[in-house]
Symmetry: C2
Subunit: 190 residues, 2 copies
């Protein structure tokens, strides 16, 4: 079940550094790509930063639409995440459909959200032409967020027994990923 | 044992999204702070991005020195990482020393590197006043990198049996961290 995430807690979806899938739609085309380089940028209003290479078709769509989504994939989607990061949608009619991936509509923007992910952040591009051009760095404000209620509730991720397939992915290189591991609570010195 | 990491592989140290400790020195002062919002920005030359709140003393030192280091802490340093993220060095003579943390000298810049971490990236600030001011976003070029040879060799992290204390930290909130979990290899469709 997908639950809305309050915007003040949306940064928590990315705080632990998962690999994301960036999706966008514009002018009758849609696409999605994997991106290991994404992070929160602010709490309230929540903002994010993501690196999008100039060669990517998703970047072209985002520049046209002014909106994008960050989908947080899990272990069950590892092969799909690798595939989305290994081929370009520029030369294909519909990379998402070709890979057999199901999508659903975003709530606040026009972008495909990927079924089977465990969180989704819908973003409005914050145009910063200099850093986009010089560093391929794109900034966005999160305008809506959802998460899979099995593993994210009350603003916290929690992966329990039997939920290994729902653990987030953290890219190493070449389609090798870590999944997120155990949680611990640090203590402050007396 | 600390091994140099070739610059073309330095992005791998952050690719899986660990929480970092940012350290810097300037004008006879030094400091370090925890930062969950850091990521690679480019491969070669390697670049990084990190969010530094205006209230932090480490940011003041970085603006003065023009250099900073990203230290990658591990489970054994969870309490220290939480402490470094919970107190300011602005009002203290030496937060690092007060917490009983040992340091060693960086190789290419003037910044304290923290003993017990599992990787270290030495960076030269890439001045971008607009995004620093508007978004607290700091960009840097990595000029030297090292890693703990027990868990990072040939450009790859590998956490084996008995190395749980060396696993990287991924901040959830309020001093709760995930440690990085198991690795898997994704497969492309035929």
């Amino acid at each position: 079940m997908r639950n809305p995430v309050e915007l003040s807690k949306a940064y928590r979806l990315l705080n632990h550094g998962p690999t994301v899938i960036v999706s966008a739609a514009h002018g009758g085309r849609r696409n999605a790509m994997a991106a290991a380089w994404a992070m929160p940028l602010d709490f309230a209003p929540p903002k994010v930063a993501v690196v999008l290479d100039k060669s990517t078709f998703t970047r072209t769509l985002i520049e046209g639409a002014g909106t994008f989504a960050l989908n947080v994939p899990c272990r069950a989607l590892a092969d799909a995440t690798f595939a989305l990061g290994s081929t370009s949608g520029r030369d294909e009619a519909d990379k998402i459909g070709h890979l057999g991936l199901a999508t659903f509509d975003a709530t606040a923007i026009d972008a495909p959200l990927l079924e089977g992910c465990v969180a989704w952040l819908e973003c409005r591009l914050l145009p910063e032409p200099h850093v986009q051009q010089a560093y391929d760095l794109f900034l966005g404000e999160v305008v809506a967020a959802q998460a899979d209620a099995r593993v994210f509730t009350d603003g916290r991720w929690h992966f329990g027994p039997g939920q290994d397939e729902l653990r987030t992915l953290h890219h190493i290189a070449g389609g090798a990923f870590f999944t997120v591991g155990d949680a611990l609570q640090a203590r402050l010195p007396r």
